[in-house]
Assembly symmetry: C2
Amino acid sequence: MPKVTLGLNAVIVAVTEEVPRILTVRRTAPSGNSEDALPFGPLEPETDRTLDLALRRWVREQTGLELGYVEQLYTFGDSHRDPAETRGGPRAVSVAYLALVREVSVGREAHWRGWYDFLPWEDWRSGRPEVIDRAIAPGLDAWVQRAPKRHARQERRERADITFGLRGVAWDGDRVLERYELLYEAYLVPEAWRDRTETGGAAESRRPAPPEPPRDLLPGLPMAFDHRRILATALGRLRGKIKYRPVVFELLPPTFTLLQLQRVVEALAGVRLHKQNFRRLVEHGGLVEGTGRQESHTGGRPAGLFVFRREVLRERPAPGVGLPGVRRA
Amino acid sequence: MPKVTLGLNAVIVAVTEEVPRILTVRRTAPSGNSEDALPFGPLEPETDRTLDLALRRWVREQTGLELGYVEQLYTFGDSHRDPAETRGGPRAVSVAYLALVREVSVGREAHWRGWYDFLPWEDWRSGRPEVIDRAIAPGLDAWVQRAPKRHARQERRERADITFGLRGVAWDGDRVLERYELLYEAYLVPEAWRDRTETGGAAESRRPAPPEPPRDLLPGLPMAFDHRRILATALGRLRGKIKYRPVVFELLPPTFTLLQLQRVVEALAGVRLHKQNFRRLVEHGGLVEGTGRQESHTGGRPAGLFVFRREVLRERPAPGVGLPGVRRA
DNA sequence: GCTGATATGCTCAAAATGAGCATAGGGGGA
DNA sequence: TCCCCCTATGCTCATTTTGAGCATATCAGC
């Protein structure tokens, strides 16, 4: 049987002060520099009955966090994901999980970091992110031009426009992974060079890489291994899911105001929402229920306190907080 | 590092004569009986650069099929999934994939089987499946009653109603996996007893199992290992995905009539759709484009032939064939 | 030229959505 | 104390999107 090692990665998410954050650990790269990585742990085949349980176990052991909502994301097994492999090590395969937590209790070795520090082009809450026009659009233009044939250039143009909403195409918040992968292919993230030099295994290793631009023209902070790709997978999945399953509530205290709820949804979706319509959606949609109590430290008129209304699952097949832009036509 | 073997399973789907089918192989169970299983193959860590490529390689080798659309589904690693494990073998982890194909070219060892032969409660095209009232609802009633406490019974009742659309709750086509898992927990599929006796590892192994009912009171054909669970995962994913991504076209010839398209969507969704509205959806939604040509062997007035319109990806963020019942409120 | 099919166009009411206007009711500072 | 700023909350209105059907078109076969 194949020689393979299996590990688990966790994207542990919390939203505080309207900032979506993920738990990271520091790691020393082969280059000697220190870089951010996702928490990682093994499956103990003897004792862990399921992959989920393995994840919960080592997250507890490493950080003291007791995970609640957990969801499997994706299994990554590309041979160039780990530099150690080309040096004769076994094939590393990792199963990535998404976990949503409320509290921000800090572990010793772990740090909370802003999710959008790594994927800054994804946050449109204060308008179109400047990094798109400053670095990404020009970088993609260059990538389009690098294609040898006219037809290939046209295909690249099309793909760039669709994934990043350029030249009149609407921005699609859910295409997070597609965007990261395009940046990787276009050599607009440092990971693309790193994988190439360390392992010779980058996606288009047979073609010459373009010259490496200065770091400030590359959007976002890099991470170890393929962890930024995992981050993108997680964000895309979560953005899709809040629309048809009431998962946001996993990130909120048991009781909350409607604006708190809205801010968390906005933080994940990366866009601002119309306040009155959002309220109509969650109230008329039966997603929440007033408690009668009030929260008075809002900076304005006191807000009613609400709780998640479980019965909604009985009434509606796909209860979520549907965002604008999902409309057809 | 943990001792683990990694394999890949494929759910290879085609739709012919309005029947969604999957590719299966025969396998001899430990009991000596023959049972259906999903095609399986290893990852060759030395040569397969990615998991996708490994899948494509062994599917080609085993069946001659050249896969087009492929999507990773889920990674299964429960310790009781493989009887060999409790006999001291290594931990088996498998990554399941979904593949959509057009042709029905048969391999030597492989057979096409109706997807709904294994999950008959999922096909509502000719009304509510009789197996629900005959076997499932009574079986779930018994499961509800088996709970020791009143509160637990109420929770089970609620869960049964929501997942199977009982007692006035609407049927949600997407909850395929939840339904299979409930049947498994409630001992309404033979796999539940098999896993228990073979490995002692069934979900609720500490509790006594109910007496095993006759086979015709257990819905659908069983499969080897946890393959029916994989099938349920695949169907649920596919049903969700056709709503917001134009994946149906992977199952159709390049040119097709609108009724053909509708029948394929219905086959996957397991429900009938309103014809005129479906046409309005795909035409006005820009998903398809007329070719000017006609198909005259329809049994009635000749139908226009259409092709998938790629440009829709440029125009709309989430182009799919949205089904009824996804509406809020 | 019927009849039985399916194809295709069009209407209409109900529901959902996107945008705003207007009023309510806190807290803090002049 | 009164005013202002701020958020909460209620409600309107035009537009779009659904869900359901009616009506007509056009083929094959008798």
